[in-house]
């Protein structure tokens, strides 16, 4: 098993945190999974699009970057424009439809739309939009145990703002349900 993910969005939307939480979970909650996290590096990190690659595999990982990912998560329009081509045929684009107001032009990939900000606002804070997207990815791929991911999120994010833990968990669960339903 080798699964690759590309995440793109504006700096500040939680793109890096989303990718890192997946990796922390795979690396620390399992004994043997190989995991790489590779952030985009350069001037575009300021204000423009931020993106990162996540690879989770049962065997040694070659390049931490892929030309074509199994899944793409997009948090904004520029990321959809820029990375739509970087999905394998038959792969999936998971879209934050609260921000992305256009359709992918690709016809050979699946699309899962998550109104992440609406969901986050309903739960109490737009800040947890990335937890909704994270939940959607985990629900869609079934790659990691949702309880493991939530425990990881609590460990990594709970220290600074413990009051966000219930909100994070609720956001993750809501995303997970939509992602899980979309995979069926």
């Amino acid at each position: 098993m080798k699964r690759s993910l590309l995440i793109g969005g504006f700096g500040g939307q939680g793109v890096m945190v989303t990718g890192q939480l997946l990796c922390y979970c795979a690396a620390e909650e399992t004994e043997d999974k190989q995991v790489t996290f590779f952030p985009s590096y350069g001037a575009e990190q300021r204000g423009g699009t931020a993106n990162c690659y996540v690879i989770i595999s049962d065997t040694a990982i070659g390049s931490p970057m892929v030309d074509y990912a199994d899944e793409l998560i997009v948090f904004n329009n520029p990321s959809l424009d820029k990375f739509e081509e970087c999905v394998k045929p038959g792969g999936t684009i998971i879209i934050n439809s609260s921000v992305v107001d256009k359709e992918p032009t690709r016809k050979d990939v699946k699309t899962v739309k998550i109104p992440a900000i609406e969901i986050a606002l309903k739960l109490g804070s737009p800040k947890v939009q990335n937890l909704v997207m994270l939940g959607a990815y985990v629900g869609y791929t079934g790659l990691l145990d949702p309880e493991d991911v939530k425990r990881t999120a609590e460990k990594k994010l709970g220290g600074k703002r413990p009051e966000f833990i219930p909100l994070n968990n609720a956001a993750f669960d809501r995303g997970w349900e939509i992602g899980h339903a979309a995979a069926r």
Partner: protein, 354 residues
């Protein structure tokens, strides 16, 4: 022991502290800023000193001073920053002072770009400064191996009383991977290493003999260095030889590119193509023998993969192959990170010709 998931840059600094590094001086440059940032926060906790110098030149000369006192010390930089420090490397080599230099390569040509690449192979292995000195140069290809190499590099530096380099690129310094850290040296062990350096200048007490570190500008000291380099070539080369016994196509690569090449070899083998990999783990001394001992009645082609255009390691590969097989290249440069698909496509295109 449980695994930690860490960024290459952080891992380098943590490994160094565990190896007993108690002085770091550097000057910020992308893509290695995580290294000084981590040292700034954690080196004082270990009783060490972190200094952000006013320039690269100042920083490397501070390392010179720290090394003179017997303290395990280190600096890190990238490409043009390494060039600015090169005068100091020459001083360290002349005075035979141990220290660890971490070089995180960016793109060329020349001053080039801030993006990850492998543009400084020749600088690292042939002339990191003036004066014809050489260093042992580690070339790790995972974050775990980077930790192990940094840890080991301090021992090598002390053993040979010479600066030692760990050569990376911007991919490994910025990526994150699961790792297990080695046990940190105890304060007693760190002190014992310092005390064992009888040459160190750490204050003349009454009755002590006067010590001199002259900077060694004699023919004799040149000959001693030459002898040491020959000894390295004989005893210190290190390479991973992966599935080379029956291989018709030998891939060769170091660092980030080597992990990609290994994945390519695995894919080719699954398709029934007899491919193998020679991965120099130290790029100086270079493992010429790994190439010399290949069975050239079988080898159809040697394929050199690098993230620099034109290729640089190929100069050493040629000296290993000595014309017994054709050498071809698969290259990327200037922030275009080598991916498995790109490398596989390039290698296959070459294989089709043989």
């Amino acid at each position: 022991m449980s695994r930690a998931f860490v960024k290459g840059g952080d891992a380098i600094a943590e490994a160094a502290i565990r190896a007993g590094c108690r002085f770091f001086a550097g000057y910020p440059i992308t893509p290695q800023n995580e290294i000084p940032e981590y040292f700034a926060k954690h080196l004082p906790e270990a009783g060490g000193s972190f200094v952000q110098g006013e320039s690269e030149t100042a920083s490397i000369n501070m390392v010179f001073g720290a090394s003179l006192s017997g303290t395990r010390c280190m600096t890190s930089s990238s490409s043009c920053g390494i060039s600015l420090k090169s005068e100091g490397f020459s001083y360290l080599a002349a005075a035979r002072l141990p220290s660890v230099i971490c070089s995180v390569q960016r793109g060329g040509p020349g001053y080039g770009s801030i993006k990850p690449a492998q543009s400084d192979y020749l600088q690292a292995t042939k002339a990191a400064g003036n004066g014809g000195f050489k260093m042992i140069v580690f070339a790790p290809s995972t974050v775990q191996e980077t930790i192990d190499h940094i840890y080991e590099a301090f021992d090598y530096a002390d053993k040979y009383r010479n600066p030692t380099m760990v050569l990376l690129d911007g991919v490994i310094s910025t990526m994150m991977e699961p790792v297990v850290f080695p046990e940190p040296l105890t304060e007693e062990q760190v002190q014992a290493i310092k005390d064992s350096k009888t040459w160190a200048l750490n204050g003349k007490k009454a009755g002590d003999k006067k010590k001199l570190i002259t900077g060694g500008a004699t023919e004799q000291s040149n000959m001693e260095c030459a002898e040491m380099y020959e000894y390295w070539a004989e005893h210190e080369t290190r390479a991973e030889e992966y599935l080379v016994e029956d291989a018709e196509f030998i891939l060769t690569a170091y660092g980030t590119t080597a992990r990609v090449a290994r994945a390519v070899v695995d894919t080719l083998r699954k398709e029934g193509i007899r491919a193998g990999l020679i991965r120099p783990i130290l790029v100086n001394p270079f493992p010429y023998k790994s190439f010399a001992k290949l069975d050239y009645s079988k080898v159809k082609c040697v394929i050199d993969l690098e993230m620099t255009i034109p290729a640089q390691m190929i100069e050493d590969v040629k000296l290993g192959v000595l014309g017994k097989a054709p050498i071809r290249t698969v290259l990327r440069s200037c922030g275009e990170v080598m991916t498995d698909d790109f490398a596989l496509g390039g290698v296959k295109k070459i294989i089709e010709e043989y």
